[in-house]
Every structure is written in C-alpha cells, then in structure tokens.
C-alpha cells in the first residue's frame, strides 16, 4: 500500500448496500405475508401447503441473515468487536428475559407471548445496543 493511498474500503457504501437489502427483504416479507393471508382466506389448503404458506415469509428473513453476515464480514475489526458484544448483550437479555418469563408462567397466570416477536426483538435490540456501545466509547473521557 502506498502512503496516502485510499484502500478499497467505503463504510457508507457498504452500509447503503446493506440498507437496500434490508428494505428489499422487508418488502418481500410484507408481500409474502399478503400472499399467505390470501392463500389461507381464499383456498382450502392441504396440510403440506399450509406449512409451506405459513413459513413462506421466513425466506426473506433468512436471506437477510445471510446479508447481515456479509455485512459483518465487511466491517473493520473494531466494528466487528462492537457488533459481537452487542449480539452477546441482545441474545443474553433475550435468553434471561424469556427464561424469567417462563419461570413466571410456571407459577402464575401471565399474558401469552408469541415467539415470533423474538426475531424483531433481537435484531432491534442489537441495533440499539450497537449505538449505545458506540456512544459510550465516543463519550467516555
């Protein structure tokens, strides 16, 4: 690498690409939710088709997971470290939170919790925690 040479790294470009993939996967997700709803409303589906239709919206989310892995691998070492720590926090909070809720469920009546909320909670929580960790590192004297 020559002195002053700009290496092949563009953080905002990578972020833009990843954001585009997020938007696209969300669009496909909503589209498949609509397809799923209409299929269940309009057709008499057999058991196999019910399973297929019910799981159809999971496909773009799996694609999003692969896109996120690619994005993670393109990050620099510091951002990878922060992202890893954030994932540890979000999955840890989720694991302990659901365990605590399960303990409560065994002993008393609590409102039911749909496990489909776990994915958005983990992803959303992870994003928030990354921002908090960045702020902590930037503000700490």
């Amino acid at each position: 690498m020559d002195k002053g040479e700009v290496v092949d790294f563009n953080e905002s470009e990578g972020k833009k690409k990843f954001l585009k993939k997020i938007m696209l996967s969300m669009f496909v997700f909503l589209l498949l939710i609509a397809v799923q709803t209409f299929a269940f409303e309009l057709y008499e589906l057999n058991s196999i088709m019910k399973v297929v239709m019910a799981l159809l919206p999971v496909v773009p989310l799996l694609w999003l997971l692969i896109a996120y892995r690619t994005h993670f691998l393109s990050m620099d070492e510091y951002m990878q470290k922060l992202t890893g720590e954030s994932l540890l926090w979000s999955t840890g909070i989720l694991a302990f939170g659901t365990f605590a809720y399960g303990m409560l469920m065994m002993k008393m009546d609590v409102p039911p919790f749909n496990i489909a909320y776990i994915l958005p909670l983990v992803f959303g929580g992870h994003g928030v925690i990354v921002q908090i960790l960045l702020k902590v590192d930037n503000n700490e004297k």
Binding site: E5, V6, E11, M75, E77, Y78, M79, L82, L134
Partner: protein, 67 residues
C-alpha cells in the same frame, strides 16, 4: 495500550475519517484506537506504521507487564 496516533494525525492534518479511509477502517475505529478503547490488530498496527513511516513501537506503547 497507549499510542501517539492523535498527535501523528494532527501533524499530517488528517481527520479521523481521512486516516480511516487511508488504512481501511471506520472513523469510529480510529477514534476508539486514539482513545485506547481498542487495541489494533498486528495487521492494522503495520498499516499505521506504513502510513506514518514510523516503526510500530514509535506509535504504540504496550502496557507495562509487572514481573
């Protein structure tokens, strides 16, 4: 690990963003290294060494290990 990155960067009149682009890391990474919040990998330390034309030990100072 202590380092002289902030001083060396100021001497070159580069922003954190500019230095980050030159060695292929984010502005946040430069900020964290300058604040000793993140110890760079050996590869990154060599990149700093090359960009400032200084040996690694002239940029980074390891924490003293008590024997």
């Amino acid at each position: 690990m202590k380092n002289r990155l902030k001083v060396l960067r100021a001497e070159k009149d580069w922003s954190q963003e500019e230095l980050g682009k030159k060695i292929g890391v984010s502005r946040q990474a430069i900020n964290a290294i300058e604040r000793s919040k993140h110890d760079p990998s050996l590869q990154l330390a060599f990149a700093f060494s090359k960009i400032f034309d200084l040996p690694i030990e002239a940029i980074f100072e390891p924490n003293k290990v008590e024997s």
